[in-house]
Symmetry: C2
DNA sequence: TATTAAAAGTGATTTTCATCACATTTATGT
DNA sequence: ACATAAATGTGATGAAAATCACTTTTAATA
């Protein structure tokens, strides 16, 4: 957790591969740059590609007709973006929005499936990646459902700290810009509720704001509330 | 959706494989029989095996300290039971309980990983299976979080109908025994709330009870409430 | 830096849901 | 078939959270 860029470095997908396999994989993709605000793909579309995010941020979300939004992931450097539904001919279940200008390697479904069939190591790396994502997502949802809105909020703070945390004299700084509304969309609540929960934590001296970022001064307090401990750190992320 | 056993048949993991690959896979596992009430594995344990369920039912759940239960999946014939965390050396996040006596093929982590590396087709089949499970779980959780308890209940009914539904003169029968308490654990609510929601639906002529099973007479009503439609049917399951 | 827009903060009100308490109905076993 | 247990049904009550309405603060930009 040295800085923003490195927080995802060791556990990343690419680093699970040997240099040679990394090279093989990258040969099968196309490098693209996508600017802020663009949509990589829409919920409901057919899945054509999987992307490896090399730079920037991509947010995955679901939207409903009543204009309710639900943010599921905030992907960063070295995360995979895209659903493996593409191998099943299922439609996409999330929308991918580029939040800060992104560089990505785009992989075509056919290429990738062929590659997996002939290179089991790369396939296994994908399975592992997938396993991690699945566990992470499920753990997040359990928190959201089992511990009420407060628990959901604490869980989210911990996850942001793990994915985007940088050291701060008083604890951990969440080094990305997040409005209360953003956070509300991440846990399916209202911005007012987020605001009230935040101010409660501030009163208890658990968090503070420093130059627009949330600083968690007592992450143990949040952990205790959720009975963290058995949950491995690597899966407690927001990406 | 001809009968209970066949509802999972075409989309099952095993059927994605050629006869030859099926044979190879089965050779790598051990057949076991486990009786009702047994626990296959506990949340927090190290993941050692993955199981292919050939007969019976296995329920996956999470438990919290305050003795709250949360049921996540109800697995049936030809479903995979076990977490792929075993490839990542992460601990298990769910408990697997045998609900009706089960026959399973048990696969050892090492065997399976070796098999994937040398047989890309099997690895790809696993990736596809995984993709399906992940989408299914995420879709379920979004329903739970976005549409309140009523939405969660409707979503659950639809999922049970898809996984365990059999034809009925008036619609679809959910052909397994489920108490209100069971359903409550599946969506994280109280049995009283389930009961009230059920009776509301009964008044509206959407559901009824026939010989102890729920019969959904107007599944479209439930669908509309959740804005189903874009969601592919195969992932709308409870397993 | 003045203006405007966006975000945060907060009380009041309403809705949703959990919990409690108890009655009634339905299953189950000997 | 009767006793007992399990599950269901339902009102009353309270807590949690959504919503509304508005003010204050902070950020963006012309």
């Amino acid at each position: 957790m040295k800085n923003l860029e490195s927080s995802n470095e060791n556990s990343s997908f690419l680093n699970q591969l040997t240099k040679e396999d990394q090279h093989i994989l990258l040969l099968h993709g196309t490098k693209i740059t996508v600017r802020e605000g663009s949509i990589l793909f829409f919920e409901g579309e057919e899945a054509k590609y999987i992307y490896l995010l090399r730079q920037g941020q991509v947010r995955l979300s679901k939207m409903t007709i009543e204009n309710k939004k639900f943010y599921l992931h905030l992907k960063q450097k070295d995360d995979i973006v895209g659903e493996f539904s593409l191998f099943n001919e299922m439609s996409l279940s999330m929308t991918a929005e580029v939040i800060t200008e992104a560089t990505l390697i785009r992989f075509d479904r056919k290429n990738l499936e062929a590659l997996f069939t002939q290179n089991g190591d790369i396939a296994v790396a994908f399975i592992k990646l997938f396993a991690k994502n699945t566990q992470s997502t499920q753990a997040k949802f359990s928190d959201l459902l089992l511990y009420g809105k407060t628990g959901a909020y604490y869980s989210m703070l911990i996850r942001f700290a793990n994915s985007y945390g940088t050291p701060h004299p008083k604890g951990v700084r969440i080094s990305i810009k997040l409005t209360n509304q953003d956070l509300a969309y991440f846990i399916g609540t209202s911005r007012e509720t987020i605001n009230r929960m935040f101010n409660d934590l501030k009163k208890e001296n658990i968090v503070e704001i420093d130059k627009g970022n949330i600083v968690i001064k007592n992450i143990e307090y949040l952990r205790k509330h959720l009975q963290c401990g058995k949950c491995p750190l690597q899966i407690c992320t927001i990406s």
